[in-house]
Amino acid sequence: MVREVSESCVDSLLTEMVACYCNRFYANKPELAARRIEAIGYQVGHQLSERYTMERPRFTDHLEAIKFICKDFWSELFKKQIDNLKTNHRGTFVLQDNKFRWLARMSVDPSIDNASSVEDNSAPTPENKAAQAMSMHLYFPCGIIRGALSNLGIPCAVSADISNLPACSFVVRIKA
């Protein structure tokens, strides 16, 4: 039987991890905070790809590995697949999740909606703060994807695009 924990455990841990790096360690250096959060994701993705490819044949090309990320890998993490995969056939892939779970759950997080928790009144507008917190959160799944693909022998850069919320697109650029 697969071991499970409540989804709040993961949500709480991610929220706190991001807050820890963005607000306490590198409050004035978002690029450094981003790099650390991405590194944490990278390690997780690296380990998960090892686990989730255990009982399957080896991938023959990049597309097969990317498809694996879109289907089985994503399903293990989010109980759904990536909704749309596009490629320019020159090493760039766009993976779109129409309702990315970690963002959907985030919008109801009181620390971002600014309801009951301790708030710093001198902070910029809530919208600004929320947008920044959101992009910080996304370094984690970007790191997961990069870690997973690197371990499958595909070095790449991964970024996230949230111009179309609640959809989220992950852009994978394979390094030649």
């Binding site: 390690q43 690296h46 380990q47 790809s49 090892e50 686990r51 490819t53 255990m54 009982e55 399957r56 044949p57 080896r58 991938f59 023959t60 371990n151 499958l152 022998g153």
Partner: protein, 143 residues
């Protein structure tokens, strides 16, 4: 009887190698493992030879040498597992079963947050699990 097992990284860097013989033939076994890596590379890079099992992780018998048989396995993450045995009539299912359990042990070992990818596996838990799997080789069913 299994006399040696090894885990080798994607740059042919040894990550774990353990022999299980009383005799002082560790060097010889290491040499056999080393030579088998070329066979693995050749198999994987010349798909015609391997035919229908092109992408299967289990590579089967790599080569027989003197009194040994050498089997190989290649994960999706390009990590090689090598098994050296003195049994001459080995059941394919037993070897597959061995690699399946060995792979599970390996995956758990590299899931340790303190394990550094590409570095040697020093985990005691892994060593114990491997030893158990090695001891039960040939006794378990294919399931």
């Amino acid at each position: 009887m299994i006399v040696c097992v090894a885990v080798v990284g994607h740059q042919n860097n040894p990550l774990y190698i353990q022999s299980f013989t009383e005799a002082d033939d560790a060097l010889k076994l290491h040499h056999i493992v080393h030579c088998s890596l070329d066979v693995v590379d050749e198999r994987v890079n010349n798909p015609k030879k391997s035919g229908p099992m092109l992408n299967e992780t289990f590579l089967g018998l790599l080569y027989p040498i003197e009194n040994y048989k050498v089997y190989g396995y290649l994960t999706n993450t390009k990590v090689k597992f090598i098994l050296v045995t003195t049994d001459l009539d080995v059941k394919d299912a037993d070897v597959r079963n061995f690699f399946r359990r060995f792979h599970a042990a390996y995956v758990d070992a590299v899931s340790n947050p303190f394990h550094v990818p590409g570095k040697k596996i020093t985990s005691r838990t892994f060593a114990e699990r491997v030893s158990t799997i090695v001891k039960s080789f040939g006794f378990s069913s294919a399931g």
